[in-house]
């Protein structure tokens, strides 16, 4: 699996195929049993401290310190990244993900979608060079999903941020990603680009769907 700078890379696969495990290995949270991993030219297992300053992740199922206010939550994680965020900074980060005037509310009062947005705001705190997102649109309503899509696209265009998205929602992939890998049975069954021509996008979607099904079916037959 190779991801180039400024890619929005879709990491697809059915449940239990190893997507989350791979992302955790890439972030250095888990150690690989075998094989080599290099992220930004560094080994996530041995150079974790340096690497974590440059990357961030939105895990699939992530808990929150429910007693914290949203602004306080961002300030807490900001300090762990060496940032001293002011109230204005926190409000700005929350506005970026569509949570206006939510900085003084305890996180336990948030809906699932709002929590997901706070999680994304946290993942963007250190302005990462690579952003790993594990099922980022989980729990979001259609507008929320569209907002997150727009945010990710603008981050990619304006800052050149490399984004790796693990998902099985093909619509997210079709809208966001320029390259994809399909993982099944802990092996990459397919890795390639998505066509960018608008006229061909409709075909791409159905093409992506059939590629996805073919890859996962192939894995089952094997």
């Amino acid at each position: 699996m190779t991801v180039y700078p400024s890619d929005i890379y879709g990491f697809l696969g059915p449940n239990g195929s190893g997507k989350t495990t791979t992302l955790r290995i890439l972030c250095g949270i888990l150690l690989p049993d075998r094989g080599e991993v290099s992220v930004l030219g560094q080994n996530p297992a041995s150079q974790r401290g340096l690497l974590r300053q440059r990357i961030n992740i939105l895990p699939e199922s992530h808990g929150f310190y429910g007693w914290m206010l949203a602004g306080e939550y961002l300030r807490f994680f900001g300090r762990l990244y060496g940032l001293n965020l002011t109230d204005t900074d926190c409000r700005m980060h929350l506005q970026q993900v569509g949570l206006d005037s939510a900085d003084r509310r305890p996180i336990r009062t948030f809906s699932r979608g709002m929590k997901q947005r706070v999680g994304i705001a946290r993942a963007l705190l250190n302005d990462p060079e690579i952003l790993f997102l594990d099922e980022p649109t989980n729990g979001l309503d259609p507008k929320g999903r569209r907002d997150i899509h727009d945010l990710l696209l603008s981050l990619n265009r304006e800052k050149g941020m490399t984004i790796i998205i693990s998902t099985h929602i093909l619509d997210d992939v079709e809208r966001l990603c320029n390259r994809i890998a399909i993982l099944h049975d802990k092996k990459i069954q397919y890795e390639g680009t998505l066509l960018e021509e608008p006229a061909e996008k409709a075909r791409t979607k159905s093409g992506l769907e059939s590629t996805y099904i073919a890859c996962t079916e192939k894995g089952k037959q094997q």
Binding site: R24, L31, G63, L80
Partner: protein, 249 residues
Amino acid sequence: MKLMTLIRKECIEDIFSSRGAALYLVGCGVLSVFSLLLVSNTELSLLDNAQAVYMMAGIIMSLALLISVIRGSDGFAGERDRETLELLLITPVSAVDIGIAKLMGTFVSWLIIFLLSIPYLWAVGSTGQNLWPAFIYIFIAGSFLVLIFGGFMLGLSARMKTFKEVLSIGLTLFLLSASPVILGPSLRQSGIGRLIDHVNPFGSALNMIDSVVVDSQNISFQLPHLATLTICTIFALCFLYATTRRVEL
């Protein structure tokens, strides 16, 4: 700054959470019941004041041990259960720092329990001997116990998957450590009883307080107990360091 941020979070979580408040309330309840018994019960009120302070010290040491076991078990395993550990592990903060912050949080909980226990100790021992040395040695012994058991339990929780698993081991350890008290004076004089008394930090802490408060012995008599406590503390902190160098989900 990062370590202080983590310590602050641990303290706020421990002190202002409903679980933290419940623990202090239970602590105060236990201390109230025992001090009331020591003052009002006909037979217990006949005890020498120093003996009463020693009995209260045993209760305070047990509370220190209980706090360490519960907070230590919850340290990493609780965060894992609540799915917040991954968020901490992906930050540039080392897991060793997270462990140290959690141990400091446990220590602050102990400080609060110690401060809460002062009026009770005063109530049962103000007219007797050695109350001030009792305060000092209870604080020293309790601090050692919190570092030993808190460090050990945090180390276990860094490696074991769930809070329940770690807590069950912790409570077993709690019972084993309290065995000098359960054994009673005659069994403690047997070979095994003495051995347990010597290697067990809880036993050493109680013996040290007994020696200071009841027997009025000077510091030279406390050196073997202090040595046991220091060695156990070093072992516990090394264990914590070794287990938190690499924490996985």
